[in-house]
Amino acid sequence: MSVGLLEWIYLLPLVLTLGGALIVGLLGKVLKGRRGDIAVGIVTAVFMLLALFSVVNLFYIVMAVDSLGVAQWLPLDIWYWPPGAFDVATGAALIKIDILAVYLSVVFIFLGLFVAIYSIKYMEHDDGMGLFYPLLLTLVGSMVGVVIAGDFLTLFIFWESMSVSSYALVAFRKEKTEPVEAGLKYFLLSAFGSTLILFSMSYLYGLTGTLNLAQIGINLALLPAGGNWMNIATITMMGLIIGFGIKAAIAPLCTWLPDAHPAAPSGISAMLSGVVIMTGAYAILRLFTLFFSPTVFPLYGYIISWFALFTMIYGNLMALTQKDIKRLLAYSTITNVGYIIFGFAVGMMPLAHIGNVLVINQIRYLSITGSLFHITAHMLSKGMLFLCAGVFLHEVGTRDLDKLRGIGRKMPITMVCFAIGALSLAGVPPLIGFFSKFFIIWGSVLAGWYLATAILVLSSAFSVVYYLRMIQILIFSNPSPEALKAKRASPVMLFSIVVLTIFIVGIGLFPEFFLRVAELAAKAVLGLL
């Protein structure tokens, strides 16, 4: 065990969220009643804010290291065997922090902060809030752990702790039937996916003899091309795509998502849709770019992109006919996962027909940049839309679009934010969603895959139909009797929504800084820095 003071600074985001979960859990035991719930919620938000500061601090450390060209990954041995007994370089449990990890940590903690603030008011009629906030902090902390994991042991521990806390949060209202059934469905599929990941990784471990993610890639590259191990690696690849794809909600495996998102409390729907499923996309990106060279395995990029195209089409078609607002948003999440995975897949293609290695790398990181930026765009927009849907649910008590007709006239601020979020996801130019999709499309066009690009553009245009339909029903229809009774949303909930909306418009107007960071993250994951 040797953790110096400096290393603790690197670990602060983890310590503040997971340690905060412990403290908040103890506080929840002591403080009871509505006032206790509010106090616990505020303490949670403070921990999230501190974690956000620490991760921004980490961002500057990593950026400084990168601009000096010292290292893209800050290797950090938090735990290793005594020297001499064991080879540290190949087997130690590692936490590795690079720009991609910091970028995604900022995204996760940012949404976690606003969900914590939002839930103080939104969950006012629920009991057991002393358990809700620790679970939320554990969820955020484990997601940070997943993105900074440098070996499979660390990744798996945080992956499972993230999964378990999200199962519990989906079924938080355990006295109702719907959350329990949706949670059970989510649990069965997701736990199966975890075992598939473990099983696949056991074969990769057998092939390479190490659990270190970077070392697995290096050892795989040393194996002779065309050997018998290629079959095992291909099976492993399919297992990893399915295992992580269940979490990332790739189309044939996404049946849990449209049930779990509406059934969860709205803040948790925002968390699940905005960030939790993105860990699946992250794991696919990180593991496949590290493990499998596109020149040795030319096909997997194409297979993942076919999955992605199918995901987009499926999400769009299913979203068209939905009457439940949160279910509609859940299906549109599936569509957006399709865009993100598609950008990643273009980054994993061999692109041998282009010839020039420099151009190939440029195309790769361009489309991965688009996808990483779309993760931010989707986190802000969809997170905010789910929070708005939660406001409607809180004030009117229904998720039925027919009964929510014309509610925008009673809640003007919420409705303006809702419209901005929907237009952002539809890809209207000055908003953030436009730029991210633009980069994905640009990368795919440069890669010369015109048919897939056409499907992506058509799917994006198609999705405008249901976003506009939602806006039309919620603002421009005659108010229903339920909607007329609605009161204005409370300022606590509006605060989160308005801040997220400001970021949607602000980053849309000034995307340059965030695009630069996303670009650096994309280069870091491809090893181009």
Binding site: W81, F86, G91, A92, A93, F152, L153, F156, I157, E160, S161, S163, V164, Y167, A168, A171, K174, T177, E178, V180, E181, A182, G183, L184, K185, F187, L188, A191, F192, S194, T195, L196, L198, F199, S202, Y203, Y205, G206, G209, L211, D259, D324, R327
Partner: protein, 108 residues
């Protein structure tokens, strides 16, 4: 390499069998408790694979990291299955049955 009393392939085949049985249970059974048993078998298949490969580690020691992964994963699996059983108890109290097909609230 250390000569093994039992060839490595036997263990690997057993692991595949365990995984296949678990998958079969998850795919065909209706009883929710049997789902949990299937899940446990899936985990065991993966654990057996890890332990086998750790024993065949190049060098003269068994890979301690893979073994600690298995031990930690068994603990995590216990936690996951406890959460699953909690779900099943809730579903049983709400529906009065362990049949997964009786959970029909979500069919729109």
């Amino acid at each position: 390499m250390i000569p093994y009393l039992v060839p490595l392939e036997y263990f690997l085949l057993t692991a595949v069998f365990l995984y296949a049985i678990g998958f079969y249970i998850m795919a065909t059974k209706r009883n929710m408790i049997k789902f949990i048993i299937g899940l446990e078998l899936l985990l065991d298949g993966a654990h057996l694979n890890f332990v086998t490969f750790a024993a065949a580690w190049p060098g003269f020691v068994v890979d301690p990291l893979a073994q600690s992964l298995v031990i930690i994963s068994i603990c995590i699996g216990g936690g996951v299955i406890a959460v699953g059983l909690a779900f099943i108890i809730r579903a049983y109290n709400l529906r009065g049955s362990l049949d997964i097909r009786k959970l029909n609230e979500l069919r729109h």
